[in-house]
Symmetry: C2
Subunit: 204 residues, 2 copies
């Protein structure tokens, strides 16, 4: 049994953001490693026939109310973005390029990069589909933004994201965040506690 949490997320997902702000502490408590898995809900929704949470009548209003309420409970800064949802393709490609980088120093900055992007979008009102915003975040973490821009336009990195999304679908992922523990899926920010109990107790 690996001691890994596969953390599937979409950059446009409020609950993905909230969970990303809590998962480091949880993983540290458990002695688990996080494997960051950016994916694109837009592609997955074509398989499931679903759509963005906020566009469903009744559920949409509840969701927007709950984003802020759940953020306040966990003392996470949250400001619902004006431009929502987004298709964060460049940000997702950049994340994969970092995560799978041959340079261990760059690789090690993956988590920080994800947190910075998520906070830019959900707390600082920035548009993370904008290449200059992504470049600014990269530079602030000493990741050369010119190298990054070149890398994410290569076919190899484009293919990496396509394969990552296909892998997520094969694994049964349909929503963000999904935490997978040795094949056991937990969907939703509100399942972090259950996931932690599952790992701590060895399952039930």
């Amino acid at each position: 049994m690996s001691k890994c949490i596969d953390f599937y997320f979409d950059y446009s997902s409020p609950y993905g953001y909230l969970a990303s702000e809590r998962i480091d502490d949880i993983a540290a408590r458990l002695g688990y490693t996080i494997i960051w898995r950016p994916m694109l809900l837009g592609v997955i929704f074509k398989v499931t026939g679903q759509g963005p949470l906020t566009e469903t009548p009744l559920k949409g209003e509840y969701s927007v109310r709950d984003f802020g309420r759940s953020a306040r409970e966990h003392k996470v800064a949250y400001q619902h973005p004006d431009k929502f949802p987004i298709g964060a393709i460049a940000a997702s490609r950049a994340t994969l390029w970092l995560r799978d980088n041959i340079d261990p120093d760059l690789k090690a900055r993956t988590g920080d990069f994800i947190h910075a992007l998520y906070r830019a979008y959900f707390a600082a009102g920035q548009d993370i589909t904008d290449a200059t915003v992504i470049a600014g975040i990269a530079d602030s973490l000493a990741i050369d933004s010119q190298t990054l821009q070149l890398a994410i336009s290569t076919q190899a990195v484009k293919d990496a994201l396509r394969l990552e999304v296909e892998q997520a679908i094969t694994a049964g992922v349909f929503g963000s965040p999904t935490m997978m523990i040795n094949g056991e899926p937990f969907w939703g920010h509100d399942r972090l506690e259950q996931m932690e109990r599952w790992i701590s107790s060895g399952g039930w």
Copy 2:
């Protein structure tokens, strides 16, 4: 501020069942009263455009797996029904007839009746759309089944259910269970803990 938990549920909802098995203890701890609110997701789905959880690709497989997993965690007996989902119109009408009954002795049996119906469907493999099953459950609780059968075929009780569902939609209910605390909605079995923290702390 009333000390009430409006508990909206559909008899066909596994998460409604799981929550119903835990809500009495939670309400007792908090000193709150449960107001049982049966509703029909089939009607609500026409407003939201959603469908049964188990019929969504990927999400459906996760859900069935999670019903049993969440039941085991909370030591609730669960056996996924062969006939699923159902439209439990008669059971819902019977519940309203009891809940709003002028006879306080009958009224007081509402919770027991709900638990018995839910357990019959989700733990004992019974078909609670069958009038004889409902009658058997009523009789076992000393609720005269002939009176009940007559009552639920009256226009007044039919109207009561229709109004109850309309009221649920007006209140913003889109899923089962939904717990409403003085207008603050909590959707899902997995939000019981958050709801309890909200009430205990006075909100945030």
